[in-house]
């Protein structure tokens, strides 16, 4: 009897010592300033919605430069000619409505305006050209985009694009405004609105993890994106006291100065999973599936398995690497719990997130994860994702995140455990308004991936894999292509993007008379659905 209790003490004590040792990362943590300053487009010719053409009969009188307050026309001192129009700054026909514009004032009628055909080549229904341009604007300035760009939603005709806040609807907004005015008379200063989240709701003795914005970065593995992209995401996360995720495939040494803002992933291939990486972070994420290719697992092509990647993954360079689906050690919630217990034992100070995709029984999966001991259930909807995936899987397998959030939120509430687990949504969160709608539908916070890449200059040409990789140098490990983008510039773009999103968050919360992002969770009564024909819950009950 005595021997056993001695043993118990021996077992417990070193573990507690470990907690002490691990209370901080062993690496000195770098501090990144949360400062917003301009980070203009890195290309010579920025793209705008409109294009201004100047004919050869221009006299270079400079009158247009006086008329335009946006800086489209520039005639530097001492120059005989005008510079090429900075037409990415032009706001288009809205300008002519206010009276004098360069087009009407030009004495030679030498100026013409048209929609920029190159801008129309970008984008698709999910990510309209406007959305890409406005994300670039937010990343460049840290500010809300100009009114000629539709920055809140896209034109996919469903999901978030058919959900609006009631105050956005002209007919409804009058009542809503008055109601909001009553409740938020006292709300004036920007600082009084809290956009932070506590991620550990379990009260299980594990440390609390707080983030200052209700969003963190999605997993992109070493090898799938350039090291500059990885580091910029981590630095922006450090600046905003949020997180980035390693994805599957290892933890590069250069990430260690940001350990406190990194989530490391344990995925089905277990590539790059090591005891020390799990012990140095505050959140460990289990990836069961990913929305872009639900139920299919990952496949790193042999060409991408370079010596550096292979070293990180402890594999042989040049061989294709499969991450199988599913975890072959998990066939039940009990197995799932064993998995989580394993990680919790390896790192007693971390909290655990479970990333799953959105099958029809996603609500059961969420409840199962709660009972297995997860702190965060991360739903990855099927329309998002940044990695290469079979086209058939992107649209057709598993449900979009818009459907999964209310389903899981309501089910967790009915089970009485909604306030014991953090619900994170991802996979198709493109804008600040998407994020706010997701939260109003029932999520606590969101994860973004594509939006961050777009901020870095992605045009969504979808060629992440072909040839030498991303032609814009974001998702390429090609030594020449990746040098198109510097880490400092990329960091600033992401800091700015989050700054712009936070501004919009604060503005919406103030409009709704709320003081915290946590008040918005599950408040689907502030939303409305643009229906073809009315659908009601009464019918749904049938």
């Amino acid at each position: 009897m005595k021997i056993i209790s001695d043993l118990d003490i021996e077992l417990v004590q070193p573990l507690e010592l470990d907690v002490e040792r691990l209370a901080q990362s062993e690496w000195p943590q770098e501090i990144v300033n949360r400062e917003i300053h301009p980070a203009p487009d890195r290309y010579r010719n920025p793209i705008g919605r409109y294009r201004i053409n100047r004919l050869a009969n221009c006299l270079a009188c400079g009158h247009c430069a006086e008329v335009c307050s946006l800086g489209v026309h520039v005639k530097p001192d001492g120059y005989a000619y005008m510079l090429r129009p900075q037409d990415h700054l032009c706001i288009g026909p809205a300008c002519t409505e206010n009276g004098a514009s360069c087009l009407s004032e030009c004495p030679q009628k030498a100026l013409t305006m048209l929609r920029n055909p190159s801008a129309d080549c970008m984008g698709d229904p999910r990510w309209s050209s406007d959305l890409i341009l406005s994300t670039w604007h937010q990343a460049a300035t840290g500010d809300i985009p100009p009114s000629h760009l539709e920055y809140r939603h896209s034109v996919s005709g469903g999901g978030f694009d058919r959900i609006r806040f009631q105050f956005e609807i002209p007919r409804l907004s009058q009542d809503v405004l008055e109601k909001a005015y009553e409740t938020n008379k006292s709300l004036r200063a920007a600082d009084s609105i809290d956009t932070g989240l506590d991620l550990n709701k379990r009260d299980d003795g594990r440390p609390q993890v707080h983030i200052d914005i209700p969003v963190y970065g999605g997993g992109m593995s070493f090898g799938s994106v350039s090291i500059h992209t990885i580091l910029a995401k981590a630095r922006a996360a450090a600046a905003w006291n949020s997180f980035t995720c390693t994805g599957e495939g290892g933890y590069p040494d250069r990430l260690k100065p940001y350990d406190d803002h990194v989530i490391t992933q344990v995925a089905t291939g277990l590539f790059g999973v090591r005891e020390d990486t799990i012990q140095s972070v505050r959140i460990v994420e289990f990836k069961y599936a990913q929305g872009a290719k639900p139920g299919l697992g990952g496949h790193l092509l042999g060409d991408k398995n370079t010596p550096a990647v292979a070293r990180m993954r402890e594999a042989v360079a040049g061989n294709a690497l499969f991450s199988p689906f599913p975890f072959h050690s998990v066939y039940s919630v009990e197995d799932h719990k064993k998995h989580l217990d394993w990680i919790k034992e390896v790192n007693p100070r971390c909290i655990v997130s479970v990333k799953v995709s959105t099958p029809t029984d996603v609500d059961m999966v969420a409840v199962g994860s709660y009972y297995a001991g997860a702190h965060i259930i991360h739903l990855d909807g099927s329309y998002g994702g940044t990695g290469a995936a079979p086209d058939i899987a992107k649209k057709n397998i598993a449900m979009p995140i818009e459907f999964a959030i209310p389903k899981v939120h309501k089910f967790l509430a009915a089970e009485g455990i909604r306030d014991r687990i953090t619900l994170i949504a991802s996979g198709g969160i493109r804008t600040a308004y998407d994020m706010l709608k997701a939260i109003a539908l029932g999520a606590d916070g969101v994860v973004i991936g594509t939006a961050e890449l777009v901020a870095l200059g992605c045009v969504r040409c979808a060629c992440c894999e072909s040839g030498r990789g991303c032609p814009r140098g974001i998702a390429s490990t090609d030594s020449e292509l990746m040098m198109q983008m510097s880490m400092d510039w990329a960091t600033q773009r992401l800091i700015n993007l989050h700054g712009a999103w936070r501004k919009q968050t604060v503005a919406v919360l103030r409009r709704l008379g709320m003081t915290s992002i946590r008040d918005l969770r599950g408040r689907s009564d502030v939303l409305c659905y643009l229906a073809d024909k009315p659908i009601s819950t009464k019918d749904a009950a049938k």
Partner: protein, 482 residues
């Protein structure tokens, strides 16, 4: 275990110049001839390929059809001379169902036989009419797949065509009444169907017969065209008989494979008897229009002993107009027929094929989920050969399924060499097969037969929309112009 089914795809370049989606607009006269030209820096060497023709007159003229619209050159040009624009020729292809992107993707699959893969998430509309309002399920933690698609377990895509008696019946003296089951097993849940509009069949029919043999499925060919084929190619051919052709088709029936298809008419039962008189082991299939009342007709014919049906929807996957009823989509019609057959206790005896509007691989999976056993592929096989679904594509009627169109095909799709055409078809079906495996793997189902009618493993827009958004305030869409 038998050999794993495998489709041998071979890189087969297209016969025609590709029509790409993007083209650059270039004002060369202002070019400063700088040494830093973006055209040299294109990471896909598109400009280099384009200018190959300047140096070598035999080289193909490539008008930037390879451009991926990364906009690096547009944004990087020293003087900002380049612009990108969507190719108007590209936008003109196809119709509202066969969208240009779909045609291009089908071409790519027919070139390489590989499944389309791309990055950066989904790009299309949130949902759409018909099949676009269905999502298939996947399995996870609480109902996991036993093994992923790259695992050791084999995912079977084979289906059986033929009458499947539910029980054996015996006479008093112990003699068995029930005919022994005659089943035709095909390895992919699709048949190569006749084109949906009149087009010359000489080479095309031969190509389908060759492709069917390689794919271990069958090709549907009208009796008139099948009679022109050499006898050694008839083994994987299902001849389609008109009422009047039965009398002259004796040789064809005995030479062709086990299955014979009859166009629906009043005395189709007598036609079936005539076929069985020539070939007692034949599997009789009846081809009928998918229209209002098709379920009644199937139940009626089933009582007369016909158990295999081929339902033809229109070009865009809707019911054929009948009785003035508006055509529903295949998915709705099929779910009704499937449910009706279950309630009549007939479903498991019957094989249902559906064709018309099956344009991409997911349509095959979704039609099977909605209740079909297999599908027929028609227009996609022509697109594989370079067809752009132009305005010459007039739908044929059931009575006159093939023939020579008044206006000839502008790209001469009917003149492609049969072996070449067959390989393009094999490539396309190879890519489709790969995609079907992806869907089955994600669902954790290892046999396509088990997917039939599994609506519980699919998500339907009309249901999930109510469930998720039914409690939100509803605002008419027109009010905000969205």
């Amino acid at each position: 275990m038998p050999d794993r089914y495998h489709i041998h795809t071979v890189l087969t370049p297209p016969r025609f110049r590709r029509i790409g989606k993007f083209g650059t607009v270039d004002w060369r006269e202002d070019c400063s001839r700088c040494s830093n030209c973006v055209k040299l820096r294109c990471c896909y060497d598109v400009y280099k390929h384009e200018s190959a023709h300047d140096r070598d007159p035999i080289a193909a003229i490539q008008t930037l059809n390879e451009c991926k619209a990364c906009l690096s050159c547009v944004q990087g040009c020293t003087k900002g001379l380049l612009n990108l624009s969507v190719n108007p020729e590209f936008l003109e292809m196809g119709d509202e169902y066969w969208k240009p992107d779909l045609i291009l993707s089908t071409w790519n699959q027919s070139d390489t036989g590989k499944i389309p893969v791309s990055g950066a998430g989904y790009r299309g509309r949130f949902a759409g009419p018909g099949f676009d309002s269905i999502w298939t399920d996947m399995s996870e933690i609480v109902r996991p797949t036993r093994d992923g698609i790259h695992g050791r377990e084999y995912i079977s895509t084979s289906v059986d065509i033929g009458p499947k008696p539910m029980r054996l019946s015996f006479a008093a003296d112990g003699k068995m009444y029930t005919q022994p089951s005659r089943l035709l097993e095909i390895q992919v849940p699709l048949v190569l169907d006749i084109p949906a509009w009149p087009i010359r069949q000489t080479e095309l029919a031969k190509a389908r017969a060759i492709a069917a043999k390689e794919l271990k499925t069958v090709a549907m060919i009208s009796a008139r065209d099948a009679m022109q084929l050499p006898p050694d190619q008839l083994q994987f051919v299902v001849p389609i008989f008109h009422r009047d052709e039965i009398k002259i088709g004796g040789d064809l029936i005995s030479l062709a494979g086990t299955m014979v298809q009859l166009l629906d008419c009043e005395d189709v039962a007598e036609m079936a008897e005539a076929v069985l008189a020539i070939k007692p082991q034949a599997i009789i299939s009846v081809r009928l229009a998918l229209c209002h009342g098709a379920a009644d007709r199937i139940v009626g014919l089933s009582r007369q002993g016909i158990k295999v049906f081929h339902l033809c929807a229109d070009l865009h996957g809707r019911e054929q107009l009948g009785n003035g009823q508006p055509g529903r989509h295949i998915k709705d019609a099929l779910r009704e027929i499937h449910a009706r057959l279950i309630s009549e206790g007939l479903r498991d005896e019957i094989t249902l094929t559906v064709s018309g509007g099956i344009a991409v691989a997911e349509h095959m999976a979704k039609a099977i989920i909605c209740g079909a056993d297999l599908v027929g592929v028609d227009t996609a096989l022509l697109v594989a050969l370079g067809c752009r679904v132009c305005s010459n594509a007039h739908p044929a009627t059931l009575d006159e399924p093939t023939g020579v169109s008044a206006s000839p095909c502008p790209i001469g799709v009917d003149s492609a060499d049969s072996a070449y055409a067959a390989q393009r078809m094999i490539n396309l079906i190879g890519a489709w097969h790969g995609q079907l495996i992806e869907v089955l793997g994600a669902m954790g189902i290892r046999e396509v037969r088990r997917v039939r009618g599994e609506v519980g493993r699919a998500i339907f827009m009309e249901d999930i929309e109510k469930e998720a958004f039914g409690d939100l305030l509803q605002v008419p869409r027109e009010q905000v112009g969205a």
